[in-house]
Symmetry: C2
Subunit: 447 residues, 2 copies
Amino acid sequence: MQSLKDMGLETSTETREDFVNFKINPSVVVYPRNEKEVVKVVRYAYENRIPIVPWGAGTSLTGAVSCEGCILLDMKHMSNILEINDVDWYVRTQPGVNLEFLNKKLMEKGFFLPPDPASFFLCSVGGAVANSSGGMRGVKYGTFRDWVLSLRVVLPTGEVVQVGEPFRKNRAGYDLVHLFTGSEGTLGVITEIWFRIIPLPKEKMIPIVSFMPDLDSTAGVIQEMRKSGILPEIAEYIDSEVIMALNTQLNAELRESKGGLLMLRVEEHDLEKIKEILGKWHGDVSILNDEEWERLYSLRAQSAIALKAMAKEMYVEDIVVPVSRLMEAVKRLKELERKYQVKMPVIAHIGDGNLHPNILLKDKEIADELFHEVGMIAVELGGSVSGEHGIGVQKAKLMGIQVKRHGGMKVLEIMKGIKDLVDPRGIMNPGKYVELAYNIMKQERNE
Amino acid sequence: MQSLKDMGLETSTETREDFVNFKINPSVVVYPRNEKEVVKVVRYAYENRIPIVPWGAGTSLTGAVSCEGCILLDMKHMSNILEINDVDWYVRTQPGVNLEFLNKKLMEKGFFLPPDPASFFLCSVGGAVANSSGGMRGVKYGTFRDWVLSLRVVLPTGEVVQVGEPFRKNRAGYDLVHLFTGSEGTLGVITEIWFRIIPLPKEKMIPIVSFMPDLDSTAGVIQEMRKSGILPEIAEYIDSEVIMALNTQLNAELRESKGGLLMLRVEEHDLEKIKEILGKWHGDVSILNDEEWERLYSLRAQSAIALKAMAKEMYVEDIVVPVSRLMEAVKRLKELERKYQVKMPVIAHIGDGNLHPNILLKDKEIADELFHEVGMIAVELGGSVSGEHGIGVQKAKLMGIQVKRHGGMKVLEIMKGIKDLVDPRGIMNPGKYVELAYNIMKQERNE
């Protein structure tokens, strides 16, 4: 790729790994400084039919940025916040900005961008949009797809477009903003983002920790809160294995708890009812001060890192089940643990039915089989194989099965048709996600 | 269309008009009783290449359901609420259900579906989804596209699919739910909807009415509220002409006000600050009791009906401008009134920059010219030609101009490509919206 260097672009030839050890072996890494340079690279890739993969901060958990011989587009230089607008309530930013940094800047002005993936202190906002990431506040505020107003995108043909408008109410045409959000770099390269922002909440929120007898009773608590019309800001669960990992790896000094712990942040007027529900399900409840809460929130965000430190490699599951079926999901996870004679430590955004059972890898073949079976629990209970981590290469087959069963093969065909429409030469992050899911299911049908 | 009758389908041959007098002259009206019957009709239309137009309650304001010689699919028999789930927080419903009826049923269980278009007492939920409608609570809760979890759709080929999943967190593939929401019946026939629902708010909300010196100062109030980080539940404006129409047509007995009135519903802790802002802009403020508020809310919903009763025909504009540019928009609207020597009574969801200047028709040619110029204000101020009423035939050219200027011609090409992908024979509500906008802009380019 001498020619990219000759165009005046900054390049290197380093290899990388993502957070779960998928390999990235590009033929060249390019570090564009602005949109024009992105266009140059994409045109070059288009003309020469070379795969191109955008890279934010490499925190993908599904192999979404893995590649062999691609042009890797590292967006780290495009990391400016361009405008914080306190009247129109948006922030306009380049994709390489770190999410925690962005939120600090917003908070200085009394605003915030709610989604907070556990990788918030590492990830780039471009990656979070490409992945439509979620986080702990998701139960109240949704995921990134609820917060993107508009995107500038360099399409796989090198053309530059803007989808959406930088305000909320817009009916001019089919909704393409939501199509590009969560497209995992398969439809183009994001070069600018307008996020909707909102004022920091004024209500006093009460942080609670409750040590639970087991995950089953935690599911019971969540279901009863729902029936009582209570929407917490945060409802997170970690089990005893995760607590142990935090204690041994990060000196967390958390109280050991056979049944794990549930952390809640709730509105003051819901507090009495919540205490009543927790009591009924034998939770041991404490109200935290702000400092204790911040510490627990930070530990929760590092849970996966602590777990991973205990194994050489780890698969992070990300299934969603309807809240009404949480107990069945828990039962079936326990059955799998018995069947495979393994422990799957569970981290969960329990408030929205989003479970992360983690598989610490010893035997890869068995792990792959188990991974698939966990995903099938979601499919069979009417849930989803991914709530917030996305599909990449790792979950393409499971996604194919889910979409075919719940939506119909035709839905996969439409998705694949859109991919072909926007990326006619198939160069943008190829061989993954929608394209891979479609190809797997098509092949199965032909067999 | 004898053959449709022979299939055992209920049919008629009546003609209709929508709310703004677009003509609907179908060759046959079919009243399907279930999804299977919808499939029968669509397959027949597909095989015989006959245009097919879904009809909810006919409250379209843009000619979105107008047709000449089509099969009109009247969904009135498919009007059952199928399930209200108080754990998973969704309602599953058929498209023909009346929105007000649905919300009454939800409220009995302590829940609601926030978007409240002014036609809420008339419209069908299927139409509201097809149109991605907004409403008075939009400033806080967004529009219908923020509340649709999943849709069953009979595609233009007669195939049945489900897009999305009946819960919020789902990353299995490109987001097609948002693509079908707001597709104005051009991508298929909606046969089942899962809406996200939430508990009725527990906070005490304070209803306020403020008589304003003019629309300009009302814009000032909204901008200052934004800067102060205040998000009202409702922020609506009607001008003096609208007040007069309500008084003469509906005996509203509202106090006449040269500058119109601003109605707000706000959280208690914001009240003092809001009073201060209103005072600064010379608003004459009263706090209402619940009964007074309900009456005003209902009158506000009927404003367009009252206005329309004063003219034979009326064009309802629906422009959005960024809140930061509201004052420029107001100035330019006044200039147009002077230029054309007409009054355009303004109804506005002022809180989100969504203005409805209404053009009472005398001379159609002049009205068309004025309509276009109002739309261009939105385009030029970086806004949108439609916030919630959609495009239909009426705003297709304006939409084309907006999308081309703000997003690029390529965006229209992608939208048109999606239409062709999903509707290869071009039979679903043809000649409107995306297709029409694309064709107009393409022709202009070729000229």
